[in-house]
Structure formats: structure tokens, C-alpha cells
């Protein structure tokens, strides 16, 4: 078993050898055009560089050795341990809580945080991790994103030292699972109108929080919840609620046809008494939740392309294998055009994500950049998944071929963390200086 999995690892990474060849040869190509002979020399030089459809712009050559090792190790885990579970997990809507602990053991939860049992790695590495897990399933990646960016990040960025010591190491190990409560039944794209209220009780040193949150990934099985509520001074603040607090309930949302392998539910709070030590003191206003969302959106920009890559590769293999009218489907122009479009969008998308990751690591990134790439990756990935589904014909609707699961999942991924249209408005405001979210001026 060890040998087979190790050999599978070797065989599945064979695409890297071509990428290495390409990156070595590209280093020697220097093109200056000074006449006919030079043009011929130019073409001869390019002839030595083989095009690698798996990595068309040599992303591999732009990663550090450490990033490559992280990606490879985690890719092996995802393909060997997550892929075998996902078919039934998705079909029967079962969330494997164990994967959180497994990912914790590998150190991929909250990977960008320094200290507290976290790895302290680069944002590019975080993106590569998200891409590998979403290659298997967007639901699994959502679980990871929530834990890392929407629970660990706010505690790390806005919490007290005591809160960090208390929660971060256990969250990093996957010992406890968290969820993020911002969206409400009547307030999705418009969180500033939230109805959840936090009232301070000076006599007991607690806050009473009442309200309802919905579409909360992990909530039915979460141990803690980072909930955002409007306080009496009109400012929105974050609170850490724990399971077992009186008045805290997390019913599951049934009948979901997206992200079925992850548990989603509501957070119902009926005068929950939250001690004041559980307030996140270092932020107030919507900048708090948005800071977390931007952190998660960056991971999603990479992740969605992982799902798109799976669909592209699967559709390519299927159309090469399936013979109709005496030839493989891949022989047809309509199929090749679709694959060319997929290849282009995925390749360009990944390059943009890498550029953004490097900017974030240098602390030179603006939130609109993240909006732009989250929107692009999700929209393009959804298109790619749908096209791939179509290319598989009837088999495309069977979950055994996996693509339909990605199609279903990407509907949610395109919608959550800011819909496709909302990110367009964010960009529109940045481009024109005029906001178009509301009807007033």
C-alpha cells in the first residue's frame, strides 16, 4: 500500500518533468530579430521549448522550493486521503469532521499565521494549498477557508493575547472547529443592515446577543462561532461564542444542492450571555468582517481554479477516450475550442493569483485586487465546469465522473464571499469613484 501510493505519487507528478524541461530551455531563449536568418534562428530557438498544457506559463518555475514541497506534500494527501471519500460524502451529504483534524496534523490550517502552533508560511503557499484541496472538492476547501481565514484570522488580527493563546493552537490542530457569523436571512450582500444586536450588561460584565445568522459553513458541528453584531454605540463588533452557551443553537440547512460534503446551518441566538473577555477588542465597524472576507477571498481565487483544472483535465481525458463516429471526441473542433478556452483562462487566472499572492506577501495589495481575482476565478471556473459537463454528455450528470459535483459547488462559490455582481460594483466604485450599491447618492 505504501509503495502503491508512493508510485501513484510518482506517476501523478510526471507532468512536472516536462515543466522542468520547459523552464530550463526558456532560460536560454534570447530573441533579437535582425534579418531573415535571425527570424529562422528565432523559430529554431522556440522549437526547443516544448509547450506543456498542464502548466502553460510555467507557474512551477516561479515558485520557491519550499512552496513546491508544501504543494506536493499536500497534493498527495488530498489525492490519497480526500479523493476516495468525496463521492459518497457528496452523494449522502455527509461531513467528515475527521478531515479537519487530519489537515490540522499537516499544519495547513491558518498557515499564514506566525506562532501559536501555526506554520507561518507565505500567502502564495496558502493559495497553493487552497487550489489542491478544491481540486478535490469546494466543500472541503470551504471548511478549510472558514477555519483559517474566517475564524483563526480574526482572532489573530483582532483578538487579545489571552484569546489567541486559548483558541489558536486548538484551532490549528483541528481539535476545535469554528464558524463565521455575518450573513443574516434578510441581509446577505448588505451586511451593514444586520439585525443581530449585542447589549452590554455592566452588572454581569457580559453582552446579551440576539439574532439569526444563516448560510454558515460548519455551524451545525462547530465548537466556536465568531459572530458579528451591532452594539449600542452603533458599531459592529466581533464576539466569540462557544457551544454550550445558553440560547445558542445551530440548526442544519437541509436540501442543499451545493457543497454537500460540508455542513451548513444557521446560528440562532436568543439572549446569549457572552462574557466581555470574548469580545474581539481590536476592531470595530465592518472593516473587521471585511478584512476576514478578503483573506478568505484570496484563497478562493486560487481554489476555484483548482476545481476548474480538475474539470478541464477530466474532460480532456474523457474526450480522448470516448470514440464516436470512429474517432475520439477530442478530434472534433468544437471540443478543442472548448479546451483551448479552458486552458487559457486557467493559465491566465493562475498567473494573476501568483502576482496577487506576491503582492500580499509584500504588503502591497489593495482589497479591490482581491475582489477582481475572486470574481474572475469563480466566474471562469463555473463556465469551465459547465462546459466540461457538457463535453461528457450523459455521463456528465453522473457523480461518478465528479464534474457535475464541481458544477453544483461552483454555483455557491461564485455566490458566497461576495457575489459576482457585488464584486463588479466594488470594482466599479474604484474605477469611477461613484458607488452604485444603493439608490441614494
Amino acid at each position: 500500500m505504501a509503495l502503491r501510493s508512493a508510485v501513484t505519487r510518482l506517476l501523478s507528478s510526471s507532468q512536472k518533468c516536462a515543466a522542468v524541461t520547459v523552464s530550463r530551455a526558456q532560460g536560454t531563449a534570447a530573441a533579437t530579430v535582425k534579418g531573415a536568418t535571425e527570424i529562422i534562428n528565432l523559430f529554431n530557438t522556440y522549437k526547443e521549448v516544448a509547450f506543456n498544457w498542464r502548466d502553460a506559463l510555467d507557474l512551477e518555475g516561479q515558485l520557491t522550493e519550499e512552496e513546491i514541497m508544501i504543494r506536493d506534500s499536500f497534493r498527495d494527501y488530498c489525492q490519497e486521503k480526500l479523493m476516495p471519500r468525496i463521492l459518497m460524502a457528496n452523494r449522502h451529504e455527509h461531513f467528515h469532521r475527521e478531515i479537519v483534524s487530519e489537515m490540522g496534523e499537516l499544519g495547513v490550517l491558518g498557515p499564514t499565521i506566525k506562532g501559536y502552533g501555526c506554520a507561518g508560511t507565505s500567502y502564495v503557499a496558502y493559495g497553493l494549498i487552497a487550489r489542491e484541496v478544491e481540486r478535490v472538492d469546494s466543500g472541503y476547501r470551504s471548511v478549510m477557508s472558514v477555519q483559517s481565514s474566517l475564524v483563526m484570522h480574526p482572532i489573530n488580527a483582532y483578538g487579545t493575547e489571552a484569546q489567541k493563546e486559548k483558541y489558536l493552537p486548538r484551532l490549528a490542530r483541528g481539535e476545535i472547529l469554528g464558524c463565521f457569523g455575518l450573513t443574516e436571512p434578510n441581509h446577505g450582500s448588505d451586511p451593514s443592515s444586520m439585525e443581530t444586536r449585542a447589549k452590554y450588561n455592566p452588572s454581569s460584565g457580559t453582552f446579551s446577543i440576539s439574532g439569526a445568522k444563516t448560510w454558515i459553513t460548519n455551524s451545525p458541528v462547530a465548537d466556536i462561532a465568531v459572530v458579528w453584531a451591532r452594539c449600542e454605540d452603533g458599531r459592529v463588533r466581533g464576539f466569540i461564542l462557544e457551544r454550550g452557551m445558553k440560547g445558542f443553537a445551530t440548526p442544519k440547512i437541509e436540501g442543499k444542492f451545493s457543497l454537500r460534503a460540508s455542513a451548513t446551518g444557521m446560528i440562532l441566538m436568543d439572549e446569549v450571555e457572552v462574557p466581555e473577555e470574548n469580545l474581539l477588542p481590536n476592531v470595530s465597524g465592518l472593516g473587521g468582517p471585511f478584512g476576514c472576507l478578503n483573506n478568505a477571498r484570496y484563497g478562493i481565487a486560487w481554489g476555484a481554479l483548482g476545481a476548474a483544472e480538475f474539470c478541464f483535465h477530466a474532460a480532456r481525458q474523457y474526450t480522448l477516450d470516448r470514440i464516436q463516429f470512429g474517432v475520439p471526441l477530442a478530434r472534433n473542433q468544437l471540443m478543442q475550442k472548448k479546451m483551448a478556452d479552458m486552458l487559457t483562462e486557467i493559465t491566465i487566472g493562475l498567473q494573476s493569483c501568483l502576482a496577487l499572492g506576491r503582492l500580499i506577501d509584500e504588503k502591497k495589495a489593495a482589497p479591490e485586487m482581491i475582489s477582481m481575482l475572486k470574481r474572475n476565478s469563480c466566474g471562469k471556473a463555473l463556465d469551465i465546469a459547465r462546459q466540461a459537463r457538457d463535453m461528457l454528455g450523459g455521463n456528465g450528470i453522473a457523480d461518478e465522473y465528479h464534474i457535475i459535483r464541481h458544477v453544483m459547488n461552483l454555483e455557491a462559490v461564485n455566490t458566497y464571499e461576495g457575489t459576482h455582481d457585488i464584486h463588479a460594483l466594488i470594482l466599479g466604485r474604484a474605477i469611477t469613484g461613484l458607488q452604485s450599491f444603493t439608490v441614494e447618492k
Binding site: 510526471s14 512536472k16 518533468c17
Partner: protein, 256 residues
């Protein structure tokens, strides 16, 4: 009590193997230019075993050694990420690397084992690209150390090692003294995934560079590769109508 602390240093020898095998056009060998390498699966198992022994506090230090060109460093880094303490890269490049075989490697290992004062050498039983299955045995012979090959179970007991070996007849259990050479077989353990924190720590671990000449090892090969060819293409079969036809065909081709 003191017996647990006897073993101080283990050397593991993770080797990298080619990921894609293509025969060179002139049939002189296999294409190695630009082909990606990865750690030999049996060597992964060997590294895992060494790290496990260290975690059980039965040994103090795990040293990962690899012989080859610059890219062997990646293999050493992987071993460091799995938990080895430091690495030694024995630089062998170009023509020397093409002719590097078990005899040369075992000479290098023997020299290093003496230099590093190792108590145990653990290797994978064979490399999956050349299937030689010789390095471990040769190393033990050169050092005049006992060997436990095809190990599916290893336990340290004072200054002795109990090894359960996978042999044709089943399982054989032997007890050998340290220092010793062990080679890992498939069922010895399941190698761990390198965790993120360990991959990042591996960056800070030292990899020393050594040349075979420094160890007094002569790399000249005693073997000359005459030809390398791919296995013959599978030929189509022939269908016959009756049993008589079958017997006739078999007689025709001289089979019976």
C-alpha cells in the same frame, strides 16, 4: 535504562529515481536530461523508520545522505522535512553520475559511516528504476557489519537489533548486533506526509557538501553498459478455428 541510549546516529540514504523512463535514441542508456526525480518509495520508508526511531528516543540523530547531481538536494530536503536532522550531499555529476551504481554508492556509504560514527545505516531495499537490490548488502560487506535486509519490522534492544525479514518462505526473525545495515521493505511502515511546519523547519537544517574524492572513494565503474532497449512490442495473437489447427500452429512454430 542505559541500553535505550546506546544508538546515537542513523544514516539514511534516500535515493532519487527517474519519474519518466525513455530510452535514449542511441540505445546507450536512459534519458536523464531534464527528467524530474523523486525520492525512491523504499527510501521514503527507510527515512520514515529512522525518524520513528528518533521519535521513540531510541536514537539521537538522523542524517540523510544522497549521492548525485545538484537536484539530489531536493531529495535530501524532503528527508529533512520528514524529520531528519541534517543532510550530506555527496556531489556526483555528469559522466560519473551516469555510471554510479551500487558498488560506488556502497563505498561512499562505508566511508561516511566511519567518518560519522554511525550505529545504523537504513536504506530502501532497492531503487525502482534499476531494481539492483545490492547497495545495502555491499555496504554491510565493505564495513564488515551485520545486515538485516527486506525488513518488515525493526526493533532496537540494547545494542542488538531484532529484524523481521520478508523472505520467499514467509517471515524470518533475526537478531543482529549494532552497528548494522538495514534495508526497508514495503510493509515496514507508511511514510508520513511532510507537514507544513516541518517543511519550513527543513529550510534551516544544514546540508553539507562532500566530494567522493574527499572520502577517498574511486568512482570508476567496473561495468560497461552495452545496450539499453525497450521491451519488444506486444505482437497480435492469431485466432484458429479448430483444435487441430491449434496443434498444427504450435508444431509449426516449434513449440511442441
Amino acid at each position: 535504562m542505559h541500553s535505550n541510549r546506546y544508538c546515537n546516529r542513523i544514516i539514511v540514504l534516500p535515493f532519487s529515481v527517474l519519474l519518466e523512463i525513455r530510452v535514449k535514441p542511441d540505445n546507450s542508456g536512459v534519458v536523464t536530461d531534464g527528467v524530474k526525480h523523486s525520492m525512491n518509495p523504499f527510501c521514503e520508508i527507510a527515512v520514515e523508520e529512522a525518524v520513528k526511531l528518533k521519535e521513540k528516543k531510541l536514537i539521537k540523530e538522523v542524517v540523510a545522505v544522497s549521492c548525485g547531481p545538484q537536484q539530489s538536494q531536493e531529495t535530501i530536503r524532503t528527508a529533512l522535512a520528514m524529520g531528519a536532522d541534517r543532510g550530506i550531499h555527496v556531489e556526483v555529476a555528469g559522466k560519473d553520475y551516469e555510471t554510479l551504481g551500487p558498488l560506488q554508492v556502497s563505498k561512499i556509504m562505508a566511508a561516511l559511516a566511519k567518518k560519522e560514527d554511525a550505529q545504523l545505516i537504513i536504506l530502501g531495499k532497492q531503487a525502482i528504476d534499476d531494481d539492483c537490490n545490492q547497495t545495502g548488502q555491499m555496504t554491510a560487506a565493505l564495513l564488515d557489519w551485520p545486515q538485516g535486509t527486506f525488513a518488515s519490522e525493526v526493533s532496537l534492544d540494547g545494542d542488538k537489533v531484532k529484524v523481521v525479514r520478508e523472505i520467499d518462505g514467509g517471515l524470518e526473525t533475526i537478531k543482529i548486533s549494532t552497528p548494522a545495515v538495514l534495508t526497508a521493505d514495503l510493509r515496514l511502515n507508511t511514510p508520513r506526509y511532510a507537514t507544513l511546519p516541518n517543511i519550513m523547519k527543513a529550510k534551516k537544517k544544514k546540508i553539507a557538501n562532500v566530494k567522493p574524492a574527499d572520502l577517498g572513494v574511486d568512482l570508476t565503474s567496473r561495468l560497461e553498459v552495452l545496450k539499453v532497449e525497450e521491451p519488444p512490442q506486444r505482437q497480435a495473437g492469431v485466432k484458429v478455428e479448430t483444435v487441430e489447427d491449434l496443434v498444427g500452429k504450435l508444431k509449426e512454430t516449434g513449440r511442441i
